[in-house]
């Protein structure tokens, strides 16, 4: 499977990566090799096989709706690159994204 430069740039955009032309040229073939590797799976006949949602043999691992202690503001913001008294700070965002 081959990937065009445009494909690579679109993936980079979705991943918010800034790639130089040189990097696109290197990464394109690398990504193609990864896809080819995974593509080998398509050789298998899965016609009669039920799709699997998990490799584990357990389901319904859930917890009751009981309140636990949350972090304090300072604990929550401890790893923030920038903060004010109560919030994370990020560069100005224009318009909603989703």
């Amino acid at each position: 499977m081959s990937l065009s430069g445009a494909d690579v740039r679109k993936l980079a955009l979705l991943a918010r990566l800034e790639l130089s032309d040189a990097e696109v040229a290197v990464l394109g073939p690398q990504l193609a090799r990864i896809l080819d590797f995974v593509e080998q799976l398509s050789e298998l006949d899965t016609e009669e096989v039920e799709p699997m949602t998990t490799a584990l043999d357990v389901v319904n691992r859930w917890a009751p709706d009981k309140l636990h202690r949350s972090l304090t503001v300072d604990e929550a913001l401890a790893a923030a690159p920038r903060r004010d008294e109560s919030c994370f700070l990020v560069p100005p965002v224009l318009g909603p994204a989703h």
């Binding site: 009981k66 503001v73 913001l77 920038r82 700070l89 318009g95 909603p96």
Partner: protein, 494 residues
């Protein structure tokens, strides 16, 4: 059908995506509080902050509430449901993905029946595509004035359980979309699965709108627009109405159809009363959904679904039907009562049963009770007249002890004074007037108004109306109907 000034036949096509916050105490995948209005970043933990190594654990109650909602919406609850990651970058989504459900949602298909806003004797069935569980994102606060300062992020809301309910593009007018939302809110608040407070974000609506235009013997579809940022049902209605006009004009100007343009996102500006273009919607594939390896699937055995079904009780649509048949009231009247919620239904039923007359009770609910509630901004739960007292008052009207006008005086007195019907009747000096008194009163009126008598004899029976007012002045307790009948009889008898 929208009202456009055009010779073309234009049909509006509307589909809704409604996010409702489920009424759990804690979040979908961690046990932080979901309470609204807490100080920023005081309801977070490593899971909802998306810290490395933190693992989500499903909130069982959210599953239960989703099942109840799905069943009430006539959905199928498949035996297996699973979780998927929806990837996108935004500062209020710390993990870089939202845990949602892609191909195996918890609720499939389904429908909700609404009263046709164009014809209240008709029911419209709005089919649903699905309803799936997902976690909410955090909140970004932009400095609107400056626009250049930092954006502040509060992650309290991150991970709050949402059920996204997706309709088929089955609605044909803004009024219908609004009716759907009102009915959905009524159902969900009745079930207690969500508060549905748009102001607090516990109910959010996106509307997908386009037009099918008949032109040159062909049906042309305009590009689909998803409208966001609508903060009330009224805003949804107005935004859709606006969008219908805008798309029509746009089509006339550019001729652009659904073939020429991908789905766009437009935001509703309530103050400007217009929608504005937002960034082009990413294609679904761009979210790169894949199964979340941190979470196990959920298996829901038949017995569990049946147990949930058994707890649903009577739903609003069934209550409407029952009120109509049990109390012999019209569909419209049953609708008005049921739409006010459980407290109003209970009030009506007690009043109707005490009065022994469902229709009269209903008429008084629609007029006097609801008007008073509106005027004084009361809730039915704290209405000063208990249902049983109103019922007793109406029983007297039914028995002919009071006419409607006098009963209204009594009602007003009961509202203003803490007293029951008997007390109000006594305080107002209302006494039953016997037939002899009425006859005397009528004789006096007829003698004083020979002209009216002439007119009635000449076949103009309605002339008698002039005497009713006079009778009321002379004796406020005189029943107008009785006065009228007595006068006519006396004229006939000469």
């Amino acid at each position: 059908m929208s009202r456009l000034d055009t010779e073309h036949q234009v049909e509006t096509i509307i589909g809704l995506e409604v996010h409702v916050q489920l009424r759990t105490q804690t979040k979908l995948f961690c046990r932080c509080s979901t309470e609204f209005g807490a100080p920023p970043n005081t309801q977070t933990c490593p899971v909802c902050l998306g810290l490395p190594g933190a693992l989500p654990v499903i909130n069982e109650h959210a599953i239960e509430l989703a099942i109840r909602t799905g069943l009430a919406l006539n959905c199928e609850i498949p035996p297996l449901t699973k979780w998927d990651r929806k990837q996108y970058f935004y500062p209020d989504l710390p993990k870089g993905y939202q845990i949602s459900q892609f191909d195996l949602p918890i609720c499939a298909d389904g429908f909700l029946e609404i009263t046709d806003p164009a014809d209240d004797t008709h029911t419209r069935r709005i089919p649903l595509v699905r309803a799936h569980l997902e976690e909410d994102a955090g909140k970004s606060m932009h400095d609107e004035a400056a626009g250049i300062s930092d954006t502040r992020i509060d992650l309290n809301r991150c991970g709050t359980p949402l059920l996204e309910i997706v309709t088929q593009p089955a609605m044909r007018s803004a009024a219908e979309a609004r009716a759907f939302l009102s009915e959905l809110k009524l159902l969900l608040t009745h079930l207690g699965v969500s508060d549905c407070e748009m102001q607090e974000g516990s109910l959010r609506v996106d509307a997908n709108v386009n037009l099918h235009i008949e032109a040159d013997g062909k049906e042309i579809a305009t590009p689909i627009v998803e409208i966001k940022n609508m903060n009330s049902f009224r805003a949804v209605e107005r935004a859709i109405e606006y969008e219908v006009r805008r798309q029509y004009i746009d089509w006339e100007d550019t001729g652009e159809t659904i073939e020429d343009r991908a789905k766009q996102t437009r935001g509703w500006d309530d103050a400007a009363e217009a929608t504005f273009a937002q960034r082009e919607k990413e294609e679904s594939a761009d979210y790169r959904y894949f199964p979340d390896p941190d979470l196990l699937p959920v298996r829901l055995p038949r017995e569990r679904i049946e147990a949930a079904q058994a707890t649903l009780g009577e739903l609003p649509a069934a209550t409407r039907q029952r009120l109509q048949s049990q109390y012999d009231i019209k569909a419209y009247d049953a609708d008005v009562i049921v739409n006010q919620g459980p407290a109003m239904i209970a009030y009506f039923e007690t009043t109707a049963e005490t009065a022994g007359d469902g229709r009269r009770a209903s008429a008084w609910m629609q007029q006097d009770v609801m008007r008073s509630l509106k005027e004084s901004d009361w809730e039915i739960g704290t209405f000063p007249i208990p249902a049983i007292d109103l019922g007793r008052l109406l029983r007297k009207v039914d028995a002919g002890e009071l006419d409607n006008a006098r009963a209204r005086d009594v009602f007003q007195y009961m509202l203003e004074n803490d007293t029951d019907a008997e007390g109000a009747i006594e305080a107002l000096g209302i006494v039953a007037v016997d037939a002899g008194e009425i006859e005397a009163l009528c004789r006096e009126l007829l003698e004083a108004n020979p002209k009216v008598v002439e007119q009635v004899r000449g076949g103009k029976e309605q002339a008698i109306g002039a005497l009713i007012g006079q009778a009321k002045k002379k004796n406020p307790n005189a029943n107008p109907q009785q006065v009228k009948e007595t006068c006519l009889r006396m004229i006939r008898e000469g």
